[in-house]
Amino acid sequence: MIPLRLEPDRVVSTVCPYCGVGCRVDLYVKDEKIYRVMAREGPPNYGALCVKGRFGLGFLGHRERLKQPLIRRRKGAQLEPVSWDEALDFAAGRLSKIAREHGPDALYFVSSAKASNEENYLMQKLARAAVGTHNVDHCARLCHSSSTAALSRSLGGAAMSNTIEEVGLADVILVVGSNTVETHPVIGAMIKKAAANGSFLIVADPRRTGLAEAAQLWLRLKPGSDAVLFGAMARHLVVSGRFDHPFVQKRVSGFREWLASVDGYTLDFAERGSGVPAAKIRQAAERYGAARAAAIYWAMGVTQHSHGTENVQSLINLALLTGQLGKPGSGLNPLRGQNNVQGAGDMGALPDVYPGYQKVSERRARKRWAALWHTRLPEGSGKTMTEAFESVERGALRGVYLMGEDPVTSEPYQDHVRRILDKLDFLVVQDILKNETFPYADVVLPAASFAEKHGTFTNSDRRVQRIRPALRPPGNAKADWWILSEMGRRLSARLERGRPQSWRYSGPEEVWREVRRALPEMLGGVSYDRLEREDLRWPCPNENSPGVSILFTKGFATADGKARMLPAPWKPPDETPDDAYPLVLSTGRVLYHWHGGTLSRRSELERVYPEMKVEVHPADAARYGVKDGESVWVASRRGRIQATVWVTDRTPEGVVFAPFHFAEQPANKLTLNAYDPTSKIPTYKYAAIRLEPLAEPTGES
């Protein structure tokens, strides 16, 4: 019995809007205010929450919520409030004009990992069916696209292979490049508890994170040296005969080629490359190799590198070698950053796949979707978001439709992004709050938040969960699914593609029915009705299926059913520190903020973490003469930002860590314009920088 001081008008069961854990919450509402957030018992969060979900929903009632559609009739004019019809007609007119004059590929559609499955489905349908381009993507490009790329080609599936509730079942847990206790705090706490209860926790991270402190074995690797570290671990297991020979023989291909590729990765070589003592590498390898069940969790520390795909591949190789897939407590588990990033990918908000990860390049898939949508579909892939933005300056890309995305804060090399946005002919910003991209918008469409609409989110371990409205949207704001369906109907009519009436949906459930009809093997059994009563995760092909928790128990989702080991060569970083820029910058998140800060910085969370602090090792602080609490310039070859120094040995010597949540001090102004060639993920975790005294403020460059 909850000791309430106020009787709620209603209690609404829904899902937390922050990270990919997908915590289930009850929102207590009185007089249109949420005054208490309680965790639900049961999976995935089992009665626990973190500060963001519990106390970070203040953005819902923030004064910068968008309440009215706005249009800018011509460049240079002011944004002016208009009716929904006028805004939608205006936007549809301009978008269709660009499509007619420059071709559909001159438009780009940025979907959102914060929006629901239904909305992501509609966004990619808008691009593909109504406009006729595969130019659609979402922010996972910036976080786990390298994971997706490596997992897809090796295993044929790009999601957590196992589940959150299995954390306690692993006898060895290997966490790589994930500050889990701050970025996925509920899972972080579960891992800590498992470690306290006897699981052997290995943490590979340059930073002394909360989890590193709780670990039995901490591998403080140099930033970007993952592939050599895990390559050497795997090689050591092979040469010492400690790998799962039957598993490799029966279920894996490419072993020999892979083995040849790690030929030189001795423990000593890896020590030189990664900075981790050989004895520790050996211990980690042997512990992992001897485990009954060993699980790997990883996040941005692995993926956000120009060789992110290789880094992930090195983890996949390790798991395949030891047979740590397809059984409880094992697996390859990328921790997803956004509430519905899994769903955004599942729903095909990607340039190369339709919903359900069906490749756009495959004829069968194209025919199938063309039939479902009653229209022709292009053959080649769309561009990735990072690539597309590069093409603006060449004039190839002219119009962008952003849903819940703020590229000025989140994209790398920020000044470049501002120039690109300035160059666009037409920009639609559909969002719940004013953000940094807002000044560049030609049309602003005010959206309803997660707490103001129905729909489904899919969390990091493939669990599909219902969200429900607790509040009315502010002003004239509308749910994204409604806006997209209205836009779809208009574009479909203007561009004469498909049937405009197929865009009339009674609500998200009708959209979801369309998704389930289109993806029966994956989601056929996941109905709104069942979600009221049951916990379901995909694949769930029919009404009687309970859903599948552990993937790959029998075969892999590849052509021959075998998983592929692939060489994952270690490459040196793109930019190395030198005399001019002697330090390495790594960017990331902190507990109290989230992504671009759009949500978290408009809540009470801002009060405990109001300013940008960069972590500087005590030795570096002494060397470069900066003090704790001092304000400095952090400068790279691309720009500089002001930040407060936090002298701490959390960060290793030679590395400065900066959170990227602060739009006014954007860490991404400093980062490289370098990408992983396979996944196009930007390098956020490695750039050469220096610290400069604030003494002579020269203004921003």
Partner: protein, 216 residues
């Protein structure tokens, strides 16, 4: 899994091995009163309200912390237990501000408790000043009866953070922070899992406190 046949208040039932008397009784529809016990935080055995008698055993045992085993004959509502619970609840209500704790209020009614039988409150518990040292939740220890769920949730039970210390002894004991630091400096990560498990409202979301006070 082995089944353990036992009798609780005359009902013959099967407990699964490892199950507590409390859980076995609940499944049989016998509601043994509890205050401190919490599955998630792992708290148990402190409030002693769930004490039950097992035939042949010398002392009553806490149902929440005692495994149900084959052949037990358990009594959950003997006259002695009723009297014990009544006194416990009376002293609790005398010393603690239970205004938001509906569960305790229900138990006070169920056991016909009359706290005034014990005269004036002794301790300083009711005079404790509210603490407001963070922007997220309020700490009002006049309402706290030391069930320690908050401490357990913060430490081993859920979060693994150890931002709370239990200080003092006897009836002067209460949850506090290490070195009496403000929550933020005590290593608190403001997950609020302490608020989640608090049964008395001693820990409450600030939003709720402010909204409730605004109404008054």
């Amino acid at each position: 899994m082995s089944r353990e046949p036992l009798v609780i208040d005359g009902y013959l039932l099967q407990a699964s091995s490892g199950e507590t008397i409390l859980d076995a009784a609940r499944r049989a529809g016998v509601e043994i009163p509890t205050l401190c016990q919490h599955e998630r935080s792992g708290t148990k055995g402190l409030c002693r309200l769930c004490l039950v008698e097992v035939e042949g055993w010398r002392r009553p045992v806490p149902a929440c912390a005692t495994e149900a085993i084959a052949g037990m004959v358990v009594h959950t509502e003997s006259e002695g237990l009723k009297r014990l619970r009544r006194v416990l609840l009376e002293l609790l209500a005398l010393e603690t501000n239970l205004e938001h704790d509906k569960k305790a209020q229900g138990l006070l009614a169920r056991y016909r408790a009359r706290p005034e039988r014990w005269g004036a409150p002794l301790a300083d518990r009711r005079e404790r000043e509210p603490l407001q040292d963070n922007p997220f939740f309020a700490r009002e220890y006049d309402k706290c009866y030391n069930c320690r769920r908050c401490l357990d949730a913060c430490a081993e039970g859920i979060q693994g953070v150890w931002a709370y210390s239990f200080v003092g002894r006897g009836n002067k004991a209460l949850p506090a922070t290490p070195l009496d630091l403000p929550m933020a400096e005590a290593g608190c990560v403001f997950c609020g899992n302490c608020v989640q498990v608090c049964p008395t409202g001693a820990l409450a979301p600030l939003e709720e406190v402010l909204l409730a006070e605004g109404e008054r």
